[in-house]
Symmetry: C2
Subunit: 444 residues, 2 copies
């Protein structure tokens, strides 16, 4: 057997602990598959006291991140600190010292990817990040290699476990968002500050990386129109069920060409009505899945745990193994560019949301008075928006607001938005109208 | 851009046509991702007359397979002839001439894999075969790379599209196997001689390759206990539905350790009752899917088209791209060993079917006479097999046979088999008893 490749972990939290466990527990099978061992030589974390339940014999564990990065025994630095500033600095420092990097930090890559991958390419080292999208699901690798012969037409991902858990619970209990979120927080399934998850930001981070991988498109997550699940109400879920849909928070990206033949990308994150018979609508609880449509392969679906100590560690260690193999072959530095090497990322225009054309679900909030329905449907009709179904839920006093649910025929979103603006100004309409897009292509 | 890597196709049938289409149609995106073009320089097939709808300009097309293999412009030979003898000879010939090989020929690899991979390793060339399992689904690559950090605990695959199509149709129409098969043949979804598909042999071929990849286990498909779907009756499907299952033809493999600590493998292909809420049971029609459980990642599922011109071509061209990249780096010869290189395949003991322990569905065929049920249940009781449910379907004349359906508590299959042998000798039992295994682990 050849010499070991040395590994250091920056950040000994949940994922770091999982990585250490997998490296130690599966040491033999990893060495057998590689032909040499992966050796965990060092761990750095500010908290050096807490017992993580990992046998640290022969592993140096202290709070000296800079020392770990400089340690000549460390060939690959695993960044699991999270966040922006410190993580970015340490990754750039590791790259500058010629170390390869494995990270699960989608937030960082979705904002500073260009800088980090640029530095790595210049220095000839790898930055691998399979764990940053879909946890243990080998989805980035599948896009980079298994599906590499395809033009990717579209991808649809349930990319955030917390929101999928909350939506699944809302469906099963009929309870409103706030109550389910509170319980998820009590159970540790949602963070104390759930913003990144429930507002779709985490999903947008991941979609940024998927779009780079699938289309070579250079975006930051700030470019992606993003809406979370805070406004999804039990009545929306009931309506969806009645009409053969389930509501999922999807990251969606599609490849387009504008009339002049120039490539454009559609990319967005929002609650979506998915046909109930589509596999994506059967992905429950905290699980993730990505459906990819390629021009040759058709639709593939990649499903698994999107987060958690060991699933995420599975992806991190998979990346370690790939880089270590390349190091032993004297070929490292080509493993995991943000796009296919040597294809470079390029700027692309995004399709504005107003140009989307789809059936749309609208929930109006209006006083339960005679004539209200005709005002709403009249405004839609004047905007040229056909109505497929209308459902007025509940009957209260004339002074109470009730939801009016409308399913439109396919229409341009700009037209729908214009009609909503007008309807929201009607005197009988008492709250902002909610819109949930229906993803019709998924029914094919 | 660097020089092109040259490709030759042996066998210009459905898949060969698909490969040519993908190479030509996606020429630009492939070249951009690789940094150099893949050039289709030659095609050989006995039938040189039929128009495949592919623009063959600049591509030599004749019936000279030996010439193609020897052509110095051909770096990678794609074997798409199928079958055993000629394909084996040509692959070995190509290897001997230092050519890399891509094949979709699971039948050949599941029987002669050892010889072929041995010859390739000796010569230092690659034999890649992603297309041989799961069509366009990058499942072998995921096992080899994305999930490489895991001990694989189990895998469950819907590996044959024809049988999944037939079972789905039987469910939806209530028609018997023969009628549905006949229609599938008329529609071109099943071969004129459907033996390989409906008797589970094709699934066993694929399971052989999955087991090699996941466990490093050296088997041929003949080692794998295999049962097809010919004996699945509409009444079985009805019963399954009533009890919350769907019947799927699964290839199943699990990793075990015998009491002395020696590794053993469970591998089998048969109709299986799958819990109706499991994703595998939602895989309909001709689609394939493989669920993999790893010790770190938990369960992942990989879904897509398991056959067809373009999906299979997607996998073939993905392999071509991987080998071509290695050729350009001067590193070819390590891409696609049957197992992880340099781990070698090793012989393993198979767990005998008699040792399986599971809830089991039994369909007895008996005359509808008083006492029959008590004879059957009595024999089961004497063998120590607990009964969860009994259903006697239909009521005919005393001289007519009716199905008696039994769901057992978990029991060792050897005991169940012994009881069946005894029951099948009862005078009132008029036909062979059918057994369908229930895969309980899938409900977790």
């Amino acid at each position: 057997m050849r010499d070991a490749v040395g590994v250091g972990i920056l950040g000994f939290g949940t994922i770091g602990t999982g990585v250490a466990k997998v490296l130690l527990r599966n040491r033999e099978v990893i060495a057998r598959r590689l032909g040499f061992p992966l050796q965990l030589v060092r761990i750095a974390d500010l908290d050096t006291r807490r017992d993580r339940g990992v046998d640290l014999e022969d592993i140096r564990f202290d709070d000296d991140a800079a020392g770990l990065i400089s340690d000549p025994r460390v060939d690959i630095v695993i960044e699991l600190i999270g966040g922006y500033d410190a993580a970015r600095r340490m990754i750039l420092d590791a790259i500058a010292k010629g170390k390869h990097v494995v990270t699960a930090n989608k937030a960082l890559l979705a904002l500073h990817g260009e800088e980090i991958f640029g530095a790595a390419a210049k220095k000839g080292v790898d930055v691998a990040f399979e764990a940053s999208v879909g946890g243990g699901i080998p989805i980035l690798r599948s896009l980079r290699e298994g599906l590499a012969a395809n033009h990717i037409d579209s991808l649809y991902g349930i990319l955030n476990g917390t929101t999928n858990y909350v939506l699944t619970e809302m469906e099963q209990t009929g309870e409103p968002f706030e109550a389910v979120l509170k319980r998820a927080q009590d159970l540790g399934y949602a963070e104390a500050d759930p913003t990144f998850d429930v507002d779709g930001i985490d999903a947008a981070h991941k979609l940024t990386l998927l779009v780079a991988m699938a289309f070579g498109a250079q975006l930051t997550y700030k470019d992606i129109p993003t809406e979370g699940i805070r406004n999804v109400a039990p009545v929306d879920i009931e309506f969806a069920e009645e009409f053969g849909y389930r509501i999922k928070l999807l990251g969606i990206a599609k490849s387009h060409t504008d009339p002049a033949g120039k490539p454009r990308i559609e990319a967005r994150v929002h609650p979506t009505m998915v046909p109930a018979d589509h596999l994506l609508s059967k992905v429950d609880g905290a699980m993730n899945a990505v459906a990819v449509r390629g021009d040759a392969v058709g639709t593939t679906l990649h499903y698994g745990a999107g987060a958690g100590e060991l699933p995420t560690a599975s992806a991190v260690v998979g990346d370690l193994m790939e880089i270590a193999r390349e190091i032993q072959r004297g070929q490292a530095g080509r493993v995991a560019p943000l796009s296919y090497m040597p294809e470079e990322l390029h700027a692309v225009d995004l399709v504005p949301l107003g140009e989307l054309r789809a059936r749309t679900y609208l929930r109006f909030t209006a006083l339960d008075r005679p004539g209200v329905l005709s005002h709403i449907t009249g405004a839609l009709g004047q905007a040229g928006i056909g109505i497929e179904s209308v459902l007025q839920k509940g009957r209260g006093l004339a002074s109470e607001s009730v939801p009016v649910l409308v399913l439109t025929h396919p229409a341009a979103e700009a037209d729908v938005r214009a009609a909503i603006d007008e309807i929201d100004r009607l005197p009988d309409v008492t709250g902002p109208t909610r819109l949930i897009r229906i993803e019709e292509e998924l029914s094919q």
